[in-house]
Structures are given as structure tokens and as C-alpha cells.
């Protein structure tokens, strides 16, 4: 692995770094904000971010500068920035660390973004369980306000920027940007039908930008060091910069690791993660959070940027890499993930709501050795009928574990079903008649 410079976790890598305003300022913090407020035209910042190649770190990888440019230009009336800190994807835990350990980095990013898009208010929608993180942020906002980095007339620029922390109430779906907006408005967290997109009809139907914590944390660095510097890192032109990858599962050293976006899974798992936790070899890994289809050891040398992982048939999503060793039941793994999705489906769309419950029940049966011939075809069919047919991307996410385990480890399912058939034969158990209408 080539040597590289950490960007987002550089400060916190120093054991003495406390994340206080003083510490942050000592590393050059809030200089970028001062610089832009001193008179960098908003459009120039958008162009800068476009040029940097920064893409959203929340999962979808949408180019950040382009997203900002979608806001109506001459809009009269309030606009909003929402920081998506709902991080609830299984296997993803980077935002939490970025917020808890270096809150000002993200706050500065938010302040610059607010100025850029013309928002006087920025909300941080933080996962309800992150009580500590919320406290850290609230304290940091207070500090920044006292220091004049936030509030009315920031650094004499006439610009008002107020940031607020809003805690979620424990629903994964509220990480989906439009569900987040609904929840922030005090409604039930259910995704909205798009279009219209948040850029024109966001929070309270006003133009709104929703960005992930990590995305926003990159902004001060891009402003300070220039887009060219950022764009040179990673796999330009499409995937640039670094990412904080979350490594978990059967590895020696699970944790957050910042790497250039195009580092390979081998770099992460073997070099930084210290490889497998025991002598059992790797069997499978999830490359980008629970919503990403499983990959196999033969994909270990794939680079982790958006394009490369997509080429390999999965997605780099939220950057959560979960590794499983030989001996792990893939049916069980799929079931476990599916139970999560069933629990978290908001229930808005028929395919996702009903499909997740049906799939879970079939998987449970198979796992409990009550599978039947035909179950696998039914599973595939249900998945096909969910994919692409729902309001939000959750529908596509929830079928990923089932479809990918069926693709690579179908034999494990078949073996369990055969066992069930054999058991049935000995017990002469009656087939449950199939319902027909």
C-alpha cells in the first residue's frame, strides 16, 4: 500500500487531541470558514467542490458539488442544510467517531456549506442512540457560537449560521434523506416519493441539502487545500479523496480506517485489519454496509472506490466492510440481515413491507430445517418483485443479502432444504397445502 496522508482522522490520530475548539483551532480549524466568509463567492465554492470530485459518503455516492448546484438560484425564503448523522446501517460506525472525536471539523464543514447554499439554519439529524455524540456536538456548537464561528453575523460577514442537533427516535429508515426530512418536521419517518427532490422541495418544502457527516467533514479541507489537491487522491476523476472504512466481523483488528478511496479490500482487511481473527480463512465479506450484496474472497483485490465495487457486482455504499470466516452459515447470515430489514421496513410500500416479512419467514423455515422444494425460486421471485419497485432504495437494499447469498452459496440453502426433506420423509410430515384462490 502506498503511503498517504490522513485527512479526516488526522487530528484524532493524535492521542492528545481532545476535539475541543482550542485543539481544533490549533490545527488550523475554522480558517476555511473565515476564508470563505471573507468574500469567496458562493458559486466559486460550489465549483471548487465540484472540481474536487467529492462524492457523498452516505451511501449513494452522489457528487456533492453537483447536488448543491441543484438548489434554485434566486430563491426567496429559507433554505436548509441537513446533516445526515443517523448512521444506522449495520457494519457502519464512522460518522459516530467523526462526530465524537472531532466535532468541529464537521461543524466547520456545515458552516461553510450553509454559507454556500444560502442556508441560515443547519440541522444535525443524529441517530437517537448516539446520546454521547449529541452531547459532544451540542457542546461544540456552543463553543463555536461563543467564538463567533456560528450565530448572527459570523466573523463580521453579515452571514447568519445557526446549527441545531435533533435526535432521531430509533428508526433506520430515517437515514434515508426524505424520511429524515419528514421526521425532522415532526412526522412519521417515511420516505417521500421523488421527484420532487429535496434540492427544490426539502425540509418544510423549502430547498434543502442533505449531506452525510463524512461528506461535510471533507469540506474545510477542500476549501483550505484546494480542489486539485483533493482530486489527486484516490481514483480520479470519478472517485477522489479518502474514506473512513469501517471494518468489522471475523478480523483481528476491527475498527475505522481512513484510506484513499481506491485502496483495495486486501489493504483494509489484511494490512490494517490484521487479517482473519483465527486460522479459518475468509468466506465472504460485505463491502459497503448491510445493503451491499456479499462478495467472496476472490474479490479481495478489488479497489474500494464506487466504480470498482459496482463492477464487481456490489456497492461501496456506506464504507462498512464486514468479514466472515469459513464456517459461517450464509443462510443464517442472510436471515440475520433480513430480520434487520424486516424490522426496519417503514411499511410504506407493499413490496418492501410484505416482501420482507415473507422472505424472513421463508428463511427462518429453511434455517430451521423446514424448507421446501420451490422455496428458493419463490425467494428469487419475491426479490425480483421488490427490486426497483419501491419508493426508496431500502427495497433494493433488503434483497441484496438474499440475492447475493443465493448467487454464491445456493448449495448451502439446498443442503438445508434437502435435510428438511429427509426429515419430513422420516416423520411423514404432511405438506402444508398451498393456498390457491
Amino acid at each position: 500500500m502506498k503511503p498517504f496522508e490522513k485527512i479526516l482522522t488526522k487530528n484524532m490520530s493524535n492521542p492528545q487531541y481532545t476535539g475541543s475548539l482550542q485543539d481544533y483551532e490549533a490545527t488550523g480549524g475554522y480558517q476555511a470558514l473565515k476564508k470563505v466568509l471573507a468574500g469567496v463567492p458562493q458559486n466559486d465554492i460550489i465549483e471548487m467542490v465540484k472540481k474536487s470530485g467529492l462524492r457523498g459518503r452516505g451511501g449513494a455516492g452522489f457528487p456533492t458539488g453537483v447536488k448543491w448546484s441543484f438548489l434554485p438560484k434566486d430563491y426567496q425564503g429559507p433554505k436548509y442544510l441537513c446533516c445526515n448523522a443517523d448512521e444506522s446501517e449495520p457494519g457502519t460506525f464512522k460518522d459516530r467517531q467523526l462526530m465524537e472525536r472531532d466535532p468541529h471539523q464537521m461543524l466547520e464543514g456545515m458552516a461553510i456549506t450553509c454559507y454556500t447554499i444560502g442556508a441560515e439554519i443547519g440541522y444535525i439529524y443524529i441517530r437517537g442512540e448516539f446520546r454521547f455524540g449529541a452531547k459532544v456536538l451540542e457542546r461544540a456548537i456552543e463553543e463555536a457560537k461563543q467564538a463567533g464561528h456560528l450565530g448572527v453575523n459570523v466573523h463580521g460577514s453579515g452571514v447568519t449560521i445557526n446549527l441545531y442537533v435533533h435526535a432521531g427516535a430509533g428508526a433506520y429508515i430515517c437515514g434515508e434523506e426524505t424520511a429524515l426530512l419528514e421526521s425532522l418536521e415532526g412526522k412519521r419517518g417515511k420516505p417521500r416519493v421523488k421527484p420532487p427532490f429535496p434540492a427544490t422541495h426539502g425540509l418544510y418544502q423549502k430547498p434543502t441539502v442533505v449531506n452525510n457527516v463524512e461528506t461535510l467533514a471533507n469540506i474545510p479541507h477542500i476549501v483550505s487545500r484546494g480542489p486539485e489537491w483533493f482530486a489527486a487522491i484516490g481514483a480520479p476523476p470519478k472517485s477522489t479523496g479518502t474514506r473512513v472504512f469501517c471494518l468489522s466481523g471475523h478480523v483481528k483488528n476491527p475498527g475505522n480506517y481512513e484510506l484513499p478511496v481506491n485502496a483495495t479490500f486486501r489493504d483494509l482487511i489484511e494490512e490494517l485489519g490484521g487479517g482473519m481473527r483465527s486460522d479459518k480463512p475468509m468466506k465472504a465479506f460485505i463491502p459497503g454496509g448491510a445493503s451491499a450484496p456479499f462478495l467472496t474472497p476472490k474479490h479481495i483485490d478489488v479497489a474500494m472506490d464506487f466504480e470498482s465495487v459496482a463492477m464487481a457486482g456490489s456497492m461501496s455504499g456506506s464504507g462498512g466492510v464486514t468479514v466472515m470466516e469459513e464456517g459461517t452459515s450464509m443462510v443464517w447470515a442472510a436471515l440475520r440481515l433480513m430480520e434487520f430489514f424486516y424490522h426496519e421496513s417503514c411499511g410504506k410500500c407493499t413490496p418492501c413491507r410484505e416482501g420482507s416479512s415473507w422472505i424472513v419467514q421463508i428463511l427462518q423455515r429453511i434455517q430451521n430445517k423446514q424448507g421446501r422444494q420451490g422455496d428458493l425460486d419463490t425467494l428469487s421471485e419475491i426479490c425480483k418483485n421488490i427490486g426497483g419497485r419501491t419508493v426508496c432504495a431500502f427495497g433494493d437494499a433488503e434483497i441484496a443479502p438474499v440475492q447475493s447469498t443465493l448467487q454464491y452459496w445456493r448449495h448451502e440453502y439446498e443442503a438445508l432444504i434437502q435435510e428438511a426433506e429427509a426429515l419430513r420423509a422420516t416423520r411423514k410430515e404432511k405438506e402444508i397445502p398451498v393456498l390457491s384462490l
Binding site: 410504506k348 410500500c349 419497485r389 393456498l435
Partner: protein, 890 residues
């Protein structure tokens, strides 16, 4: 009439059929227009797209994924396919998924036979591979009237969205996640809401049903009649359904009627009021001992005819008076006044329009020369600004209220409320929460509030230039008149500030289409005609009056008050309405009727009762009207009725008034007869019979007709249509059913006359704030008002509505309650010079400080605390507000 703003047209092709539709049309709607029915659950034309059921997926060329046609809007050149194989597969899949968790209890489901899930399954599915466990919700109690069967729910959220978007009640919510999502009221409490029944009607399956008809029928057993509701002036079209001779349920059809398929609690749950077991089934004659005896029709009719004839012979026709309820059909109202005028020979004829509606119609007539609104419900929906003055619109005219909600929600209209209720949220809708400017006005103060707004307009120099130049006398007079009123006076009288009135006036001035609606608070007040006239002045000064889409409407509380006035069932009007002393009309009617038309001026309701007490009125014929329970004891109705030599009542029920009668005729209810009603905005609509008359009861017109025969002056009508034909001949506006053929335009000549001369007559009076006695320390203003759940005393007999509200509870502001030291559910003793009454109390946020509100439907005891004032101009009996001291009952 409303104009729809013109939109760009685009061409789309759906299943090979091309069509031009306005830009922005939903694909599913465009498809319907070419005859392609895309199956759907969550889509509903009244609701914003939610695209949750995924049933309506279609293929759109150049878009890779299937799209929901209920949320996708057409674009020019769009090519849509709705019946290609993979679209069908997607539909089948949605059905298979829905059926997976569906209990399939069709045999006991009230929706069976008219269920979208059944119908689509029948059309698309072969079977389901689902063999797992179905979810099961434990049975939960939602309400005595509305039942949820959550196992049947397909989570389309139509009920919730309807309740939010259309009703603005927000009483329902999904609770739980995923497949375990269920529809519930807040915190699982028993449902408290508008009880419009909309959620039941809009549910595509049988997941929300009415407990009134639960398990009573299969849809195909029901016989249907399209008719008009008889509970308020909105005139909703509804379908009354019966099984054999039992009323089973009422529902409405999307897009049909002035209500466009919406109903209110009274319409949806109140229908049994018409057929309660207490209905009078036989004619009655009072015996010497005071009891009633059932008699034959012949005996009863002869007794009444003889009495009327004797009294007429002895004392003259003017010793007889007639009073009828405006709940009757036009035909009956017309026949009644013809009977009184032509057969008896007196102008002593009046109706419940006297309770206030007459004030409104007279003002409209006076200023604009037409006795109908110059605007329609559609104009309310399209208005930029709606001004409500003393309407309690959701309670009194719920559907007119929905038009306003629609205007606000769909078209961004602004609302100004001069109302007693204050903006406070609950799960019963409250129109003032939607107001841009809310001005709290206590009953009795609406006149002063209107003057405040006019003053606000004048002071900000917002009087329209055209008006001040072309009607300079009018403008300067009014300007001078309001300048004489001080803000201090206004503040003292209604508690409104300069800022509030200025803001409201500015909003009115800036808009283009302004609709002003005046309700019972204005119409039943002394000087009510003057207040409505001032509202017309306001619109004139602001430059809106006479413009398309702008105008003043007055709201009828009863279903046919507009008709009653047009049929000439108020003393001062002949059919038309034309003035009773108008000789051309008298001559015309004399010709049509073949009888003389009396020329002596008649007595109004209050005058008739006065004369009865004085002994000059000897007999009264009271049809469906109940003055004894509609006026306070202070009006001495009881004494008046007791003094009559002959009282003939024609009624559905033995009311307190009817109990004093010498002869009682059993009449048929609105569901047992044909005819027409004219709603508050002037739409003439057909009432159709759904049941045969109960017992021996007869439609009112048949009774009048029979009586006229016995009085040797036969009004021979074979069927009700013949009366309508006669009405048509007499009142040209009744040439057609439905909307009058032309919009009701202001008569320019009359308006000009008003602006030149007419306004002067009473301008001083109208522009003076009446002296108000100062309220005594700690006193509450006790108000009798209309509840959302009842219509007069009539619906207290409805088995549905009585389950929501079966008695009166005094509503007070929580802060007043704290001051008095009374808790929710406890009792208060109300007292004043008239007496003392103890009532249970409920704390209600929307009641302003210093007010105690009580539903008039249950005012039996409370009436004693009120005193009657008779409006000088139109003899309207005013009495619904009084002052009381309230003390805790320990």
C-alpha cells in the same frame, strides 16, 4: 362561476391511444380519460399522491424502471404501456403480497362484493404461494361508530390522508412499523373526531367499517336512492341504501353533488333520525281529557278543516297563521303558502328562515338585486381570500367548510376568520387553525368586528379608486362614518386592535377573488341584515364586489331555507321571492291559482305568537316547526299556544309543540318522499324517495292537498311533479334542476341604485357600534351553538349520532375553569336573573376566555337563562347569547 386557469396541453400515448391533457396531469388520470383503468389502492383523486401500494405501476418509454402512474405526471410525447406482460407481473405480485397477510374473511366482511382487493384479485391473480403465518392484530376498540379490522388493512393510508388532507381533523395515524402497521387514534384512545365517515368510505377494503350497519347486509341486497341530505343548507348528495324497508346505510359518490362525495357526521351517521321508533304513525286528535286518540285520516282532516273554516268564518282569515319548517321540500313549502294564502286567505305565513336566514337574503336582495349568492362553492375553492364571519362553519355547514380547506390546501388561499372559536388544535377540525388572520369575536360582536375591518380598509387608503370616483357619495359617506368610530370603541366592544383589523383589511384588499361568508353568528343577531349589508359594503369598497369569483354568501343552517324564501314562505315574500305587496305578482298568482291572493300584510312568527297570546290569532297550522323548543321560555310560546282555539301540527315526532296540538298529522320524512331542495348557494336538487312512508304518514304536500279539498278549495295535485311544474311557471329560476342556468350575477341597476341612494336609509344605524352593557365581574358569556354532530333537535333521535353526543356538555376554556376551580367532567351551576341550571363541564382549548359554549340541540333546561330580543327590521328572534355567573358544584 370559477374559471380554471388555462394550462399548457401535452400529448401522451397510453396503450396506443393518444390524448391531449393539461401539463401536470397524473398518468393514471390521463389513462382514465382514454378508458384505460389502471388498478390502484392508494391513489385517490382527492388526495396527494403517496404512491405506496405500487399497484399502479406502468411502463414509460425511456425510463428503465416501472413507474407509479398515480404519482408520475405526464410529459409531452410520453409513451405509456399499462398492459404489457411485465407490468401485469408486477401487479400480480403486489396482489400476491397483499393477499399474503390478508385474512380473506370475505364472507363476513361488509366490503365483500364492492372491495378493490377482491375485484383486482379476481382480475389478476391465480393464486398465492404464501404459506407462512399471517399477521394477526388483536381486536381493538376504536369507537362505537367506527370499527377497524386491521387484519384487512392494505396500508394504503387513504383513511389517514383523507382525515388530514380533506378533513383537516388529523384524527387517524399509522402506528407500528412494517407489516404490523395499524391505523389508530392517538395513543390508542377512543376516536374523537369529526365523524365524517370519510375514512370508512375511502378505505378500498373492509378495514374500516361503520358499526351502524355492520354485518347487516351484502352489498347486492341493497336498494339505492340518490337523494339530498336534509340536515343542513349545504345540500349534499347522498345515496340512501335500504334492505327491504330498513335503512341500512348512507354513502356518497366521489365527484357527485355539491359535496363532491364528502359528507359530514350528520349526513353519514344521522340517517336514522328520520325513522326513529317514536315516529308518529297515525293521525291524533286531542280528547276532552287532554290525551291523544289515534284517529283515521278522514277524522283528523275533517276536524282540522272544520276548525279552520269556523274560525275563518267567525274571525276572518287573518285569525289563522301558518308556520312551516324549512326542512320541507320546495314543493311542500310552495303548497303550504298556497294553502295559507289561497285556501285560508291570509299572509300570516312564516318559516324557520325567520330565525336568521331572512336577514342575509334581504341584504343580498337589497344591495345586489338578487336573492342568491353571486358566487358558488367552486368560487370558494378558487378564491384567493375567504373571509368567515360568525359561521362556525365546520359545525354548521361542514361541506362549505371543506371547500375552504380545499382552497387553502390545494390552491394556497388565505383565510380570515372573524369567529368565536380560537385557533387550538385537537383531533376535531377547527377552521381557525388554518387562518392567516384570526380575529376572535364573541357572539353579539360581529357587527362591530366588521366595522373594524372596514375602518382598517379606509384608514389604509385601500378604498378602490373606481369606487371612490364612480360612487363618490357612497364612498365618502362610509369613510366619514367609520372615521367617527374610534379604535378605542372597537377595542372595548369586540376586543380587536387596529393592527388586527389593518392586517385583515390589507389581505382582503390585495387579493383578486374574495369570498365572504356570513353565518349564524351574524344572521341570528339583531341588526343581522345590516351586518351583511356592511359586508357587501366592504367588498364594494375593496373593489371586489361584482368581480368574477368574488361575493358575499350567507349560510343556511337548515337544508331548505333558501328554498323557503324563494317559495314565498316568509310573511313578506310571495314566491319568487317578490314582495308580498307586489301587485303584478299577486295578479299573476291569482291567475295561476284561480284564487284571490290576500293583500293584507301578514304577521311574522313572533307576531303570530304575540297575537295568539293577545287573543287575536285563534288558530295555527304548524308544520314540522317547534317554536316551543326553538325559543326561550322568555318568548312565552307556551302561553301563546295554550291560548289558541285550534292548533294543528304536522310532524314526524310528537314534539313539545305538537303535544299542545288539537290535531296532529303524521308526516313522512325526507327519505320517504320525492321533491326538491334548494341549497344555500342556490342549487336546486332532487330529493328521491328511498322508503315507503312509515305507518300512515303522508308527505306534507299530500296533507295540504287533502285539507284543501275538505275546505272546498281543492289544490289538486296528483303527484309532486305537478307542483314543481307550477313552481317553474311561477319562478323562472326553477326552470332547471341543478345550478341555475346562468350564474347569479349582480343586478347592475339595483346595485347602482344602492350606491346612489339606497345605502343612505340606514347608514347611520349600520355604522354605529351598539352600546353594550359592561360584563359583570367574573361573568361568562353563555352561548348556544350548533354542534358538528347534530342538526337542530331532529338528529338527537339518530341512533348513530346519539352515540357520539347524546347530551349537552358545557365547553369552557381551561383557564376559566382553573379560575372557577372546576375540573373536566365536574359540574357548574350557571345562574342569572332568569334562573339557575347545573351542567357538566368539559375543558376545551378552542373556547375563548370568558365564553361558555353549549350545544343548542340539548338546551331544554338552559333555555330558561336566555331572554328574547326581536330584531326590529326583520322580526328575527334573537336570543342565543346571555351572561351567567358560574360557580362550582361541590
Amino acid at each position: 362561476m370559477a374559471t380554471t386557469k388555462t394550462k399548457k396541453m401535452v400529448t401522451v400515448s397510453i396503450d396506443g391511444k393518444s390524448i391531449e391533457v393539461p401539463e401536470g396531469t397524473l398518468v393514471i388520470e390521463a389513462a382514465r380519460q382514454v378508458g384505460v383503468m389502471v388498478p390502484h389502492f392508494c391513489y385517490h383523486p382527492k388526495l396527494e399522491p403517496d404512491a405506496n401500494c405500487r399497484m399502479c405501476l406502468v411502463e414509460i418509454e425511456k425510463i428503465p424502471k416501472l413507474q407509479t402512474s398515480c404519482s408520475t405526471r405526464v410529459a409531452d410525447g410520453m409513451v405509456v404501456r399499462s398492459s404489457v406482460p411485465h407490468v401485469e407481473t408486477a401487479r400480480k405480485s403486489v396482489l400476491e403480497l397483499l393477499l399474503g397477510n390478508h385474512p380473506l374473511d370475505c364472507p363476513v366482511c361488509d366490503q365483500g362484493g364492492r372491495c378493490d382487493l377482491q375485484d383486482f384479485s379476481h382480475e389478476y391473480t391465480m393464486g398465492s404461494r404464501f404459506t407462512e403465518l399471517k399477521r394477526v392484530f388483536p381486536k381493538e376498540h376504536l369507537s362505537p361508530l367506527i370499527e377497524t379490522q386491521m387484519n384487512r388493512c392494505v396500508s394504503c393510508m387513504r383513511c389517514v390522508r383523507y382525515c388530514d388532507e380533506v378533513m383537516d381533523a388529523k384524527a387517524l395515524a399509522p402506528v407500528g412499523r412494517g407489516t404490523m402497521t395499524k391505523i389508530s387514534h392517538w395513543a390508542g384512545n377512543e376516536l374523537e373526531c369529526d365523524f365524517c365517515g370519510g375514512c370508512i368510505q375511502i378505505c378500498p377494503v373492509g378495514a374500516i367499517t361503520s358499526r351502524l350497519s355492520m354485518y347487516d347486509f351484502r352489498p347486492w341486497m341493497l336498494k339505492r336512492a340518490e337523494t339530498i341530505c336534509n340536515f343542513c343548507g349545504d345540500g349534499c348528495q347522498m345515496t340512501v341504501q335500504r334492505k327491504d324497508e330498513d335503512l341500512i346505510e348512507v354513502n356518497s359518490t366521489l365527484g357527485a353533488g355539491r359535496n363532491d362525495g364528502d359528507l359530514c357526521a350528520r349526513g353519514y351517521f344521522g340517517y336514522h333520525a328520520n325513522v326513529h321508533a317514536d315516529r308518529l304513525m297515525h293521525p291524533l286528535i286531542r280528547q276532552a281529557d287532554g290525551s291523544f286518540e289515534e284517529v283515521t285520516w278522514e277524522e283528523a282532516l275533517e276536524r282540522a278543516a272544520d276548525q279552520f273554516a269556523q274560525i275563518k268564518a267567525a274571525h276572518g282569515a287573518d285569525a289563522i297563521g301558518g308556520l312551516i319548517t324549512a326542512r320541507c321540500t320546495n314543493e311542500e313549502l310552495y303548497a303550504f303558502q298556497k294553502f295559507m294564502r289561497g285556501v285560508i286567505g291570509t299572509n300570516n305565513v312564516d318559516s324557520s328562515a325567520r330565525y336568521g336566514y331572512i336577514n342575509g337574503v334581504k341584504a343580498l336582495q337589497r344591495v345586489q338585486g338578487i336573492h342568491r349568492w353571486a358566487v358558488t362553492f367552486d368560487d370558494i375553492v378558487e378564491a384567493d381570500v375567504v373571509v368567515l364571519v360568525g359561521t362556525s362553519i365546520t359545525e354548521t355547514n361542514p361541506i362549505t367548510g371543506l371547500k375552504i380547506k380545499q382552497g387553502i390546501k390545494k390552491n394556497g388561499a388565505k383565510l380570515i376568520t372573524l369567529e368565536t372559536a380560537i385557533p387550538a388544535f385537537s383531533t376535531i377540525s377547527n377552521i381557525t387553525t388554518l387562518a392567516t388572520h384570526h380575529l376572535t369575536v364573541l357572539p353579539g360582536c360581529f357587527g362591530a368586528a366588521v366595522l373594524g375591518v372596514i375602518k382598517g380598509l379606509v384608514e389604509q387608503n385601500l378604498v378602490n379608486e373606481r369606487v371612490s370616483s364612480q360612487a363618490s357619495d357612497f364612498a365618502t359617506t362610509i369613510i366619514a362614518a367609520v372615521e367617527k368610530i374610534s379604535w378605542q370603541e372597537i377595542q372595548q366592544s369586540v376586543g380587536l386592535s387596529l393592527e388586527q383589523c389593518h392586517a385583515a383589511a390589507q389581505t382582503i384588499s390585495q387579493a383578486e377573488r374574495v369570498v365572504v361568508l356570513a353565518g349564524q353568528g351574524v344572521l341570528r343577531a339583531t341588526g343581522g341584515e345590516g351586518i351583511v349589508t356592511n359586508l357587501l359594503d366592504l367588498l364594494i369598497l375593496a373593489g371586489h364586489h361584482g368581480n368574477e369569483g368574488s361575493g358575499v354568501g350567507v349560510l343556511a343552517e337548515e337544508n331548505n331555507e333558501q328554498g323557503a324564501i324563494e317559495m314565498g314562505v316568509v310573511t313578506e315574500y310571495l314566491p319568487g321571492p317578490t314582495k308580498a305587496d307586489d301587485q303584478t305578482t299577486q295578479t299573476m298568482l291569482a291567475k295561476v291559482w284561480g284564487r284571490d291572493v290576500p293583500s293584507t300584510p301578514g304577521a311574522t312568527m313572533v307576531e303570530m305568537l304575540d297575537r295568539a297570546r293577545q287573543g287575536t290569532m285563534k288558530a295555527m297550522f304548524i308544520v314540522g316547526e317547534n317554536p316551543l323548543e326553538s325559543l326561550p321560555p322568555d318568548a312565552k310560546v307556551s302561553e301563546a299556544l295554550d291560548a289558541l282555539e285550534c292548533l294543528v301540527c304536522q310532524e314526524l315526532y310528537l314534539t313539545e309543540t305538537a303535544k299542545k296540538a288539537h290535531v296532529v298529522f303524521p308526516a313522512s320524512s325526507a327519505v320517504e318522499k320525492d321533491g326538491t331542495f334548494t341549497n344555500t348557494e342556490g342549487f336546486v336538487q332532487s330529493v328521491r324517495k328511498s322508503l315507503d312512508p312509515l305507518g300512515e304518514s303522508l308527505p306534507d304536500w299530500e296533507i295540504f292537498s287533502a285539507l284543501s279539498v275538505l275546505m272546498n278549495s281543492p289544490m289538486e295535485y296528483g303527484e309532486v311533479k305537478e307542483i314543481f311544474k307550477e313552481i317553474r311557471g311561477v319562478i323562472p329560476q326553477y326552470g332547471l334542476l341543478g345550478p341555475t342556468s346562468t350564474p347569479h350575477v349582480v343586478n347592475a341597476e339595483i346595485l347602482a341604485q344602492y350606491l346612489r341612494e339606497g345605502f343612505k336609509e340606514d347608514v347611520e344605524v349600520r355604522y354605529t357600534i351598539p352600546q353594550k352593557a359592561a360584563k359583570s365581574e367574573g361573568a361568562l358569556t353563555l352561548v348556544l351553538g350548533q354542534s358538528i354532530y347534530h342538526s337542530g333537535k331532529f338528529t338527537t333521535r339518530s341512533k348513530g349520532l346519539s352515540q357520539i353526543q347524546e347530551s349537552g356538555v358545557l365547553n369552557v376554556n381551561p383557564d376559566d375553569a382553573t379560575r372557577i376551580g372546576v375540573e373536566d367532567g365536574a359540574s357548574l351551576r350557571l345562574s342569572n336573573g332568569h334562573g339557575e341550571v347545573t351542567v357538566p363541564v368539559k375543558l376545551v382549548d378552542r373556547i375563548p376566555l370568558g365564553v361558555a359554549w353549549f350545544p343548542e340541540h340539548f338546551d331544554q333546561e338552559l333555555r330558561a337563562l336566555f331572554s328574547l330580543t326581536v330584531d326590529k327590521r326583520n322580526h328575527v328572534p334573537c336570543w342565543k347569547t346571555t351572561e351567567v355567573q358560574a360557580t362550582r358544584v361541590s
